[in-house]
Every structure is written in structure tokens, then in C-alpha cells.
């Protein structure tokens, strides 16, 4: 095939968007061709959603140009983008659940007859539209009575009937069952044959290779590459997403001291077998021994955080079994998990972790309050003793224990959260991205601290997207892919190379 690029439908040049001091998109160039299915991939913070919001008029760009069919465009609102033929279908369907399929399709442009809504024509037109797309959906059905997959198809059909020439599908399969995915792919193929361009956002490599023609990889707000998927090896795609060159999957430099010898065949502290939580978590198994740091690796959406949720009791496993110290463990709430000796430092410090209005002292002792509370009265003396001990032990830098936690750096906030769980005297600590968003210096301190804790006998389960951190910090690494454990690496088998291969599921 001659390498003459087909004309592009939508071309983005030098798109830049800043949020305060953060540059979410930095001079990104992409072009979407007519009738192609174009995957948009990247890890957290890559800038995918910002890019889509700029394309669909939800955000303005700070810099750069957009050309639709060669003409410069500048959308101010989603309505303007829709009128120009660019339409987004989101994970949560933005339709009216109590209304019929036909009403959802024609809301805002109902056929009228003598000024009144012409239901007969509306139903007829809806049926024609759905038939045309090969969708077997009753236009008179109430939307909430049909499956999520079908609701999504209705949203797509609405976009098509509004004249969309470019459809953005934002993680369309995240809440679909496997057989529903097939129906969706069928629809995508149909649309593509009609010349509609589709931007497909997903974390699932299988899907991307099944339905997409080309892929654009973003990382940290920058364009990494746009490639044809034909001939692009999975391992190379993952390397692009993670920012690793294939040759240089090497040891990095972290403050983790090195390897811990895997404990011998003793009863593990935590044993999880085939746990599942629909739709993201399907079949995950892992063990954590006393004094061991076990890593959990996987791309975004592979089920990493869901694993932590199930272990900590915020989500209930629908399959499999779990044991703590050999005893069956089925937490119904975080309270159960705490009783069983588990602590959890969540991924999102701001949303799930710190309580910004409270002081260091109050934040630190939140989980342990019951320990020094009698008849509902908190013993201030015992509270202060504990706070002093952990502030000095973890090196928390605050002007005093009563300083508002909001005023602390990210690293010190994270230490407070670690201390919060340590003073409940846990046996197992789950850390979800413990060093994300923390500056290099504090990062090293936290890594050293985790290491010390493990050496003193604590079991640690560390979820991280930093491969160096996993390789150097963990004695074992469990690799997840599409909600399943696909590899368990041990000892010398733990390497970035091996982890990336497991993520891509290709033989070494």
C-alpha cells in the first residue's frame, strides 16, 4: 500500500491546556481519519480525557489549532461540537432512564404535527434508525428497562442521527458483559463502514487490537506516538504507554534497599484465591507473608485498586475465598478488615485519605480512636503520647501536632496516613500508589519506611504503577491483566522486563 495518508477528518495541532500550574496537555498533535477507529491510550494523568473534552467542546484549549475537514474550528460548548458532527458517548450513559428509547433518540427534535408531538412518526423513525444500525431494540421500551449495553447503543444511535461524523467512545466496555461487547463491536464495524470516524478510549489491549486501526499514545500530557496497530507488537505498545524503551527495561534507582528473601513455606498472613468483583475484577489470587512486600502490577483498569477494595472490605467479593492467618476472612466493611488487622492507605490521598479540616493529631489517630476512647470520651493524654511517638518515628515535619494537615506537603500527609494505620497495630498494610504525587526526597523516605516496617514483620501489599518501585521494593510481584492474575514473579524473576511481558501476555 502506498503511504499516502487518507485525508483527515479532524486534525489537532499543538493543543495545549493548563490547569493552574499543571500542564495537562502539552503541544499535542493528532489527526483522525475519516472512517477509522482510532484508539486513544495512556496511563493516569496522560491527558486523554482533557483531549477529548477539548475536541467535544467541554473544555477550551489554551493554545493550538483544530481543523475539521480542513477548516479551523473553535468549539465553545458541547452543543457547538455536536452541531459540527462531533459527539461523545461516555461511560455513564447520559440519557433519560424513565423515558422511552424513541424519546431519548429524538429529545429536542420531536416530530410535530399541528404543533403536537407526533408519537406515531417518532416511533416509526426510531425503528428505522435502529434497524439501519442493525440494533434489535424496541423503541417503545423504557430506557432503564434495557441493558446498559443497549442503552449505550441508543446513545450512539442518537449521536449518529444527530449527524455525527466523529464519535468518541469513552471506555465503552467498562460496564459491559462479554457478549454485549460483541454487539458493540458489531455496531462499531457498521459505523466504520459508513465512514464514521471513531475515537476509542480503553485500557483493554485485547479490545484495541480487535477493533482499532491506529493508536495514539499519550503520556504526562504529551504525545508519545501515533502508530498503525498492524504490526505493532503489544510489548512495544505497553513500553510506549509506560515510557520505557524496550531495550532499557532496567533497574532504576529507588530507596528500597533491595530484595527480601521470600519467606519459606509457612502459612501466609493473607491468602486470596480467585476473588472477583464485577465488572473489573474477575479472578485474582495472591499471598502475602509476614515481613514481606508483595507488589501488585497492572495497567490502569486491570483491577489493581479493586483488589485493594475487596481486601479492605469496601467492595464485597462475589467469588473465591480469602484467609487471614489461616482463618476464613470475608470482610463486609472496612471495620471488619481493621479487626482482622489490615490497614489501607488509599490511592487518592485528597479524596479518600486525609480530612483536610482537621489537625495532624486528629488525622493521625482517626482509625485508632477506639483504642483510647472510654465511654465515648477520647483520652487526650494517650492520644498525644501516640501522636508524639509516630511523628518522631516517621519524621513527620509539622510545626506542631495541631497544625492543619492541609498545610503539610504531600509526603508528610502520606506519612500521617501511614501513621494512622500503624497505630492500630496492623499485621498487613495495603498501600495503593504510596509515592504518587510526592516529591523525590519524601518519596525515598517513604520507601525506606515501608522497607523498615516489613523488616519488623509487617506484611505489605503495594500497588504501584512505578515499575522500578515494584522491582526494587518487592520480593514478589503479582501482575494483573483485565482483572485476572496473569503472573506471579519471584526473586530474580522480578524485573521490569518480566512485568511488562506479563502485562502484554506474550511469551518471554
Amino acid at each position: 500500500m502506498a503511504d499516502v495518508a487518507p485525508p483527515s477528518l479532524l486534525r489537532l495541532e499543538g493543543i495545549t491546556r493548563r490547569f493552574g500550574a499543571v500542564t495537562a496537555l502539552d503541544r499535542v498533535d493528532v489527526s483522525f481519519r475519516r472512517g477509522e477507529v482510532h484508539a486513544l491510550v495512556g496511563e493516569n494523568g496522560a491527558g486523554k480525557s482533557t483531549l477529548v473534552k477539548i475536541m467535544t467542546g467541554a473544555y477550551r484549549r489554551d493554545d493550538g489549532e483544530m481543523f475539521l475537514d480542513g477548516a479551523a474550528v473553535n468549539f465553545q460548548t458541547p452543543a457547538e461540537a455536536q452541531a459540527a458532527g462531533i459527539c461523545a458517548v461516555h461511560q455513564e450513559v447520559h440519557l433519560l432512564g424513565m423515558r422511552t428509547v424513541a424519546e431519548n433518540l429524538f429529545l429536542g427534535r420531536e416530530p410535530l404535527r399541528w404543533g403536537l408531538v407526533d408519537w406515531r412518526t417518532m416511533m416509526h423513525d426510531a425503528r428505522v434508525l435502529l434497524d439501519d444500525l442493525g440494533l434489535d431494540i424496541d423503541p417503545a421500551a423504557t430506557l432503564s428497562h434495557i441493558s446498559v449495553a443497549r442503552q449505550q447503543m441508543v446513545a450512539i444511535a442518537r449521536g449518529v442521527s444527530l449527524g455525527a461524523s466523529l464519535l468518541v467512545l469513552d471506555e465503552p466496555t467498562s460496564s459491559l458483559a462479554e457478549r454485549e461487547v460483541v454487539i458493540l463491536f458489531d455496531l462499531i464495524a457498521r459505523l466504520r463502514a459508513r465512514g464514521t470516524s471513531i475515537v476509542y478510549i480503553s485500557h483493554r489491549l485485547d479490545e484495541i487490537y480487535t477493533v482499532c486501526d491506529r493508536v495514539t499514545v499519550l503520556r504526562d500530557g504529551k504525545l508519545v506516538a501515533t502508530r498503525s496497530l498492524d504490526g505493532l507488537e503489544r510489548i512495544d505498545l505497553i513500553c510506549l504507554m509506560l515510557g520505557k524503551s524496550r531495550e532499557a527495561l532496567r533497574l532504576g534507582a529507588t530507596a528500597f534497599g533491595g530484595r527480601h528473601a521470600a519467606a519459606a513455606n509457612v502459612e501466609p498472613l493473607l491468602r486470596a484465591r480467585s476473588i472477583a468483583f464485577a465488572p473489573r475484577l474477575r479472578d485474582v489470587s495472591l499471598d502475602v507473608q509476614k515481613g514481606e512486600i508483595v507488589g501488585v502490577a497492572g495497567l490502569l483498569g486491570s483491577g489493581r485498586s479493586e483488589t485493594a477494595q475487596v481486601l479492605f472490605g469496601t467492595a464485597k467479593s462475589t467469588a473465591g475465598s480469602m484467609f487471614m492467618n489461616g482463618a476464613p476472612y470475608a470482610p463486609g466493611s472496612p471495620r471488619d478488615a481493621m479487626r482482622a488487622g489490615i490497614g489501607f492507605v488509599s490511592e487518592d490521598r485528597k479524596a479518600d485519605g486525609i480530612i483536610p479540616e482537621l489537625s495532624v493529631r486528629e488525622n493521625l489517630t482517626l482509625a485508632a480512636l477506639p483504642l483510647f476512647t472510654k465511654f465515648g470520651i477520647v483520652s487526650r493524654v494517650r492520644q498525644m503520647a501516640i501522636v508524639d511517638r509516630y511523628m518522631s518515628r516517621l519524621g513527620i515535619r509539622a510545626s506542631s501536632a495541631d497544625q492543619n494537615i492541609r498545610e503539610l506537603s504531600g509526603g508528610n500527609q502520606q506519612k500521617v496516613l501511614l501513621a494512622r494505620w500503624l497505630c492500630t497495630d496492623p499485621e498487613l498494610l495495603i498501600l495503593d500508589e504510596p509515592t504518587r504525587g510526592i516529591d523525590i526526597g519524601a518519596r525515598g523516605e517513604i520507601q525506606r519506611l515501608v522497607n523498615e516496617l516489613a523488616e519488623s514483620g509487617l506484611g505489605v501489599l503495594m500497588i504501584s504503577s512505578e515499575l522500578e518501585e515494584l522491582v526494587e521494593g518487592c520480593s514478589r510481584v503479582v501482575v494483573l491483566r483485565d482483572g485476572r492474575t496473569v503472573a506471579e514473579l519471584q526473586g530474580d524473576g522480578v524485573s521490569e522486563h518480566a512485568i511488562v511481558h506479563a502485562m502484554a501476555e506474550t511469551a518471554l
Partner: protein, 304 residues
């Protein structure tokens, strides 16, 4: 079961009527039945407007006060011209409804608070303007509106109109859309503010119609008229089967709700042995039972 789900209030109405026929000889008489209809026609008109507001996801606590304002305004204007009295009363209440809608959509004040403030202010204004006295309507230009079959016919005409608007006009469909999910409706391109303002204007206007009817019936505009009607109207809408959170329901259900509560009240009166306070306790309990039963036989919003 499906029939019950959609017609629970209707079944209850039939049951209550059967009880009435069986126990009280005077229940099934032309006089008694037309009394029930006439006595409840004004509340029915108010509840019609309330149906629009609730379907659109709002609540209007000001309707009782607007009935009084409209009645007083009509009584004050009627001596000049009967038609002026009718239109003036309706117009004043409509305008106050529009103000409700503007405060809710543009100033982003919660409907409950906005219309509560309107209730207090409108009622006080009616008392202030009239010096707490009723305003007699001199002459008899309006009297026919409140007597005989006129109120009942008017009620039915307005309900038929309300049904047509809800079922067959874009505005009506958009009221359902906004009540289902206002944000989504906006994302789908609807001008949701206008629709919400429309529902409050309609609610105010219909309260105005009821106010004029009531003044015509009483021969005077009373500043204390229709106290507590907002709660009766809300009760009728909800008993009828319209979702209090909006998005689902309709005007005929509301009419059934109005009649159901009206017939029960009538039976208490025919019985005559139950003290008024116990009547209220029973009415409150009944309201609760009907709503609980309805919410239990309603299908889950998202069946798998």
C-alpha cells in the same frame, strides 16, 4: 400486579366508594356526589399545577397563599369589570409563579426555600392589603363560576388540557425530561431553565384560577383562604402515584388522588362520630399507607 402498580390509587378510590355505598345511605346521592366534586374542584385545579412542578423535579409550597392573593385581587378588581377581576387574579398569581421559577433557576435557590418564602410573603401581602378583612364582591358578575356545575366542568376542561400538554407537547415532554435528570436534559440540548420556570408559572396560574373560583363561590376574597392547601395538593399528587422526585406520573393520577382524599373526608363527615382531630390522624396514616404500598409495588428503577 401491573394494573395495581399503575392504578393503586384508583383501586383504593373504588374500595372507599364501595365502603361508602355499603355503610352510608346518603353517600350515593346526586347531591352528595356533586358536593364532593364541587368542594374539591378548587383543590383539584391547584393540584393540577402542582403535578407539573413535581413532575419537573420541584415543589411549590406557595400555592395556598397564591390562591388567597388571586382571590383578593379578583375581588378588588371585579367591581370595575368581572372579566378584569378574573384575568387580574390569574395574572397576579402567574407572575408570582414566574418569580418563583426565576429565583429557583437563575438565583439557584432551592425550590423548597424559594416557595416557602413566597408562601410567607404572599400570604402576608394579602393580609396587609386587605387589613385582614375579607373583600366582598359587590354585584354578582362572578358568582356563576363557583356554583352549580361550572366548577366541575372547568376542572375537567383544565385536566383535559393538562393531559394534552403533558402528553402531546414538547413542553410537556421536557417537563418529564427535566424531572428525570436535569443535568442530562441540559446535556441533551434542552433549555432546562425555561421549562422549570414554565412549571412554576403554570402552578401559579392554576392557583390563580382556583383563587378566582373560590372567591366567586364565597362571594368574597379572603386573605386567609386556602391555608394549608399546598400540603393537600402535594398529598393528592403523591397519593395519585406521581413520583415526588419527579419524572414519572400524570394528571389523571392526580385527579384520582384528589377524589380519593375528598371521598374519605366526605365519609368521615357522613359518619359524624369521629372527632375532627382523629379524622386528621386517620387521613395522615392513610396517606402514609398508600405511599408506602405504592413504593413497594413499583418496579425497581434498574432491573437487571
Amino acid at each position: 400486579m401491573k394494573f395495581l402498580r399503575h392504578n393503586g390509587a384508583f383501586v383504593a378510590l373504588v374500595v372507599v366508594c364501595i365502603v361508602g355505598v355499603a355503610r352510608y345511605e346518603s353517600f350515593l346521592t346526586v347531591e352528595n356526589l356533586s358536593n364532593i366534586l364541587r368542594q374539591n374542584s378548587m383543590l383539584g385545579v391547584v393540584a393540577l399545577g402542582m403535578t407539573f412542578v413535581i413532575l419537573g423535579g420541584g415543589i411549590d409550597l406557595s400555592v395556598g397563599a397564591l390562591v388567597a392573593v388571586a382571590g383578593v385581587a379578583a375581588a378588588m378588581l371585579a367591581p370595575h369589570n368581572a372579566l378584569l377581576g378574573v384575568l387580574g387574579g390569574i395574572l397576579v398569581a402567574s407572575l408570582l409563579g414566574v418569580i418563583n421559577g426565576l429565583l429557583i433557576t437563575k438565583a439557584r435557590i432551592q425550590p423548597f426555600i424559594t416557595t416557602l418564602a413566597m408562601l410567607i410573603a404572599a400570604r402576608a401581602a394579602a393580609l396587609a392589603v386587605t387589613h385582614e378583612q375579607s373583600v366582598n364582591i359587590s354585584g354578582d358578575g362572578l358568582g356563576w363560576l363557583g356554583r352549580g356545575i361550572a366548577p366541575v366542568v372547568l376542572l375537567l376542561i383544565l385536566y383535559a388540557g393538562g393531559w394534552t400538554v403533558l402528553r402531546h407537547t414538547r413542553f410537556g415532554r421536557y417537563v418529564y425530561a427535566v424531572g428525570n435528570d436535569e443535568d442530562v436534559a441540559r446535556l441533551m440540548g434542552l433549555r432546562t431553565d425555561r421549562i422549570v420556570i414554565g412549571t412554576y408559572a403554570l402552578s401559579g396560574g392554576l392557583a390563580g384560577v382556583a383563587g378566582v373560583m373560590l372567591a366567586a363561590r364565597l362571594g368574597a376574597g379572603l386573605p386567609v383562604a386556602a391555608t394549608g392547601w399546598e400540603l393537600d395538593a402535594i398529598a393528592s399528587v403523591v397519593v395519585g402515584g406521581t413520583l415526588l422526585t419527579g419524572g414519572e406520573g400524570g394528571v389523571w393520577r392526580t385527579l384520582v388522588g384528589v377524589l380519593l382524599l375528598g371521598v374519605i373526608f366526605n365519609l368521615f363527615n357522613l359518619d359524624g362520630t369521629i372527632s375532627p382531630w382523629w379524622q386528621w390522624v386517620l387521613r395522615g396514616s392513610f396517606l402514609l399507607v398508600v405511599v408506602v404500598v405504592q413504593s413497594h409495588i413499583r418496579p425497581a428503577t434498574l432491573p437487571s
